[in-house]
Amino acid sequence: MRVVGRKVERKEGRAKVTGAARYVDDLRMPGMLIGRTVRAPIACGELVGIKTELGGPGFTTVDFCDIPGKNVVSLIAEDQPCLVEREIRHAEEPVFLIAHESREALLEARVSLECRPGVPVFDPLASPRSFKDILIEKGDVAKGFAEAALIVEGEYRAGLQEHVSIEPNGVIAWPENGGIAVLGSLQCPYYVHRALMTLLALPPEKVRVCQAETGGGFGGKEEYPSMLAGHAALLALKSKRPVKIVYDREEEMAATTKRHPAIVRHRTGVAKDGRLVAQDIEVILDGGAYVTLSPVVLSRACIHAAGPYRCANVRIRGRAMFTNTVPNGAFRGFGAPQTQFAGEAHMDRIAEALGEDPVKLRETNALRPGDTTATGQRMHDDCSALEVLREAVKRTRFPEKRWKWKGTGRGIGLALFYHGAGFTGSGEVKLASKAALELTERGARILTGTTEMGQGQRTTHAQIVAEELGWPYEAIEVAEVDTARVPDSGPTVASRTCMIVGGILQACAKELKAKLGRLTPRAYLKRNGPLVVTKSYEHPGDVAWNDETYRGDAYGTFAWGCEVAELNVDPDTYEARLTKFTAVVEIGKAIHPVLAAGQVEGGAAQGIGYALLEEAILRDGRMANASMTNYIIPTTVDTPTIETVILERPYRHGPFGAKGVGELPVDGAAPAIVNALRHAGADIRRIPATPERIMEALCASR
């Protein structure tokens, strides 16, 4: 292939490297005001009154009475208000908005909220309310346990994780055409579009949403911009001027979504020969104060909970619980990192209980083509669990280090995992995404609603189109994301952009090529006038899912990974220091090998932070460490050399065989590290594995 699989220049690379790229906070509009959000000081209670001492003229203020449509942030359930009316469900809940030309005047304005406190619930296990319950059943668990020679139980906990995108959330909204226009740092322009239609009672053509250059998303800009854009839009409509709101780091950390904390309980029956004969798994997610995306995060969490293993008898029960905390939401991995951390840490405990080698235990149980998952999804030829495992073991000389390092304070551990690409179950069918190609004088222009946020979507899409058309990469341009111009290609989430939207674009390119015949673009345009080819997602006939029974093909396919962590535990400080990290992934086809490796390295680094450092501490439902001084993420110095190995076994329905890669690498880092700590002598069942927890675990075992 000429373009696919090559390291072509990133479409937006030059602008970013030279500083020409313009982010929301770089932009000014004439007459623009700055907006500020006044937030609830308590986690639970009632708003009694709002007192304002603005200290001068020129302010625009907004409360829920100014909302022309429905006071909700429209998503799965319409339960979350855009602005509090009376009931306060979490600290930092938005109550009141003010805007002013001068940032100083804005910050000096005093708004005090009078609240009547209620009794909050912070412990998900004590919560009376579940947003969603899921049950996945395969075979007969009781029968499985009856056959078991050994039963291993355990509870594993994972904490809150903040996205820490380099650019925080920000938007500018302005009145336009009798409606509203929004330009923002965001992942899902059509989510914002829909939310604004509901909030402002506007028809679709009166709402325009554009994406500014976006400095990272990781899920933190999936659902939250719908809230933020609503705020800016309300201020803009009332003041009849452009309004910009950009969060600072503290507001971004304290007020926006995070990764769901999870409690995962395993009870596993194992036969003498190491076969898993029963897996009984309970998943409890802390959903926070509103439904937001918790049901679908729980769904992905549960589907991935049994791991990439074949077991005839499986039961997975999941709940997403209400608590009086900031709603937890989308975060790279979307539930799968939590449950696969638990599952893979549990596998090493099973190996230990059996006196078995962790690699051998996984080899015995790993899914192979023809096997079925917990939902009954049958594996095809691109099931690569054994391949990634064997490659990782060979590359790292795992058995040798495992033996040599025993009792030395050094440790090596691995995790085997998978990640389903695209929306779960019938999600892609319901989304019915569209993408389009427009013929230009020089070639073609890609029109999609998917967003570039650093992952390289503009580049990989252009490669797919160029390859299919047989044209040079440079002949393909990518339109700016503007809902007035581009179709709804679904949200830029769920590792779906390359595999799903890339697939639609490939279909567009095929049709464009057929229409052109032997004509050059220029000649075609001259003879026939403008040409735009729009295609919709076509669901493969051999991928079927039942929403009622939770059975069938949960995803079109899975990407596979095996990650290996090598570390030592400092004998003085109990810090775990990674010396090497190896990621072997099978992703169908790496459309752009460097971008794909970038996804793997970035995801691994985020997983390393999740495993060892990152802990959002809540006190009375508020984040106590909402700053980068106290919420610690790994920097390059804390990150070891990451060796990335990409294997390719094409997915039959992916563009040039590509699967999703964005989320996969986060899933395995935490369990690989925790298993390496186990090898070094520390029994860790809760992440992050801070020095205190490692010390506690090591002292307990001595």
Binding site: D572, T573, L613, A624, N630, P634, T635, T636, D638
Partner: protein, 322 residues
């Protein structure tokens, strides 16, 4: 949030002292700490007096009493000064341990010694704690995992400076300038426990500022060991500064000062005694274990005790022949 202020470029130390005597005046070195405090709404000076405009105040020079380092000398320049590092290796190490290259390129030694604490409650404008003239310490029943294990309150901050403990160990003197002239004092006396003054960690009379620090070269062996959560840049969880003289396999003179564990640089005389009593190799255990004698951890920070011992042990081990 920043309220309006008048910015003055001082041209001489005398002029700076006069300007700093104005109501609401504050001295500006590199601005690393002051600007952060202003943005966080903890401080709103009416006058900012720039000290970096005073010619020669950033000089690093060897005198007959040792090394004299002007208040506006950059941390980078201290860390990179080859001759100073030969005489005072621990001081150069402590300057290098501060934050990031960017901050060291901007931050001054004066600012480092007079920087304010990083306690979450102090830094959050909504808590009126004892350090800000209010009542009590919310950390006592709140988040205290990074706070002091020594000092006994009523405020439990840890002093954030890396250079201060090292300079206390090296027995440095601070030279202060004020409207009534100049004075100097041992740097250990510059810092005060909260029981004496909860509002501020150091003693400066109205209008006074740090003009220079002088470090004798009488203790030729020194080191600074800092334990932090992030390896790239972070404040100390615990740190240990040791300065002394070595004869063969043992210290003949030794000063051990802890950082990151008390509201002021915390000297451990028991550790020093253990260090002098034994050979260096044999001193590691008793000296590091006794360094935390008298520590009174709070609800969440007992883990800092082994971390402190680790810092001391590492510092002592660094003097062992390799």
């Amino acid at each position: 949030m920043t309220s309006p202020f008048t910015f003055w470029d001082a041209r001489t130390a005398e002029e700076a002292a006069a300007l700093l005597s104005k109501k609401g005046a504050m001295a500006l070195g590199g601005g690393v700490d002051l600007l952060g405090e202003m943005k966080e709404g903890i401080r709103a000076p009416e006058h900012i007096v720039n000290l970096r405009s005073i010619p020669g105040l950033d000089k690093i020079q060897k005198t007959d009493r040792g090394w004299r380092v002007g208040a506006t000398a950059l941390l980078t320049d201290i860390a990179d000064h080859a001759d100073l590092r030969k005489d005072l290796p621990g001081f150069a190490e402590s300057a290098e341990a501060v934050a990031t290259p960017q901050i060291r390129n901007q931050g001054t030694i004066g600012g480092n010694l007079a920087q304010r604490p990083r306690c979450w409650y102090y830094r959050a404008a909504e808590f009126a704690c004892v350090k800000k003239g209010g009542k009590g310490c919310p950390a006592e029943k709140g988040e205290n995992r990074y706070l002091a294990i020594f000092g006994d309150g009523p405020c439990h901050i840890v002093h954030p400076s890396d250079c201060a403990p090292m300079l206390v160990a090296l027995d440095a003197r601070l030279f202060l300038r004020g409207p009534d002239g100049a004075r100097d004092l041992p740097i250990a006396d510059f810092y005060e426990l909260p029981s004496k003054n909860a509002l501020c960690e150091f003693t400066l009379k109205p209008g006074e500022f740090i003009e220079a620090v002088e470090i004798p070269t009488a203790l030729p062996r020194s080191t600074y060991v800092k334990i932090r959560e992030k390896d790239s840049f972070d404040f100390a969880i615990a740190a240990c500064a040791i300065a002394g003289k070595i004869d063969g396999d043992h210290f003949t003179d030794a000063r051990v000062v802890l950082g990151g564990v008390a509201p002021v640089p915390w000297r451990s005389v028991t550790a020093e005694a253990n260090l002098r009593k034994n050979t260096i190799a044999d001193a590691v255990e008793p000296a590091s274990n006794s360094a935390t004698d008298g520590a009174r951890p709070m609800s969440q920070n007992a883990w800092k005790i082994p971390m402190t011992k680790a810092a001391v042990a590492r510092a002592i081990r660094s003097f062992l022949p390799r």
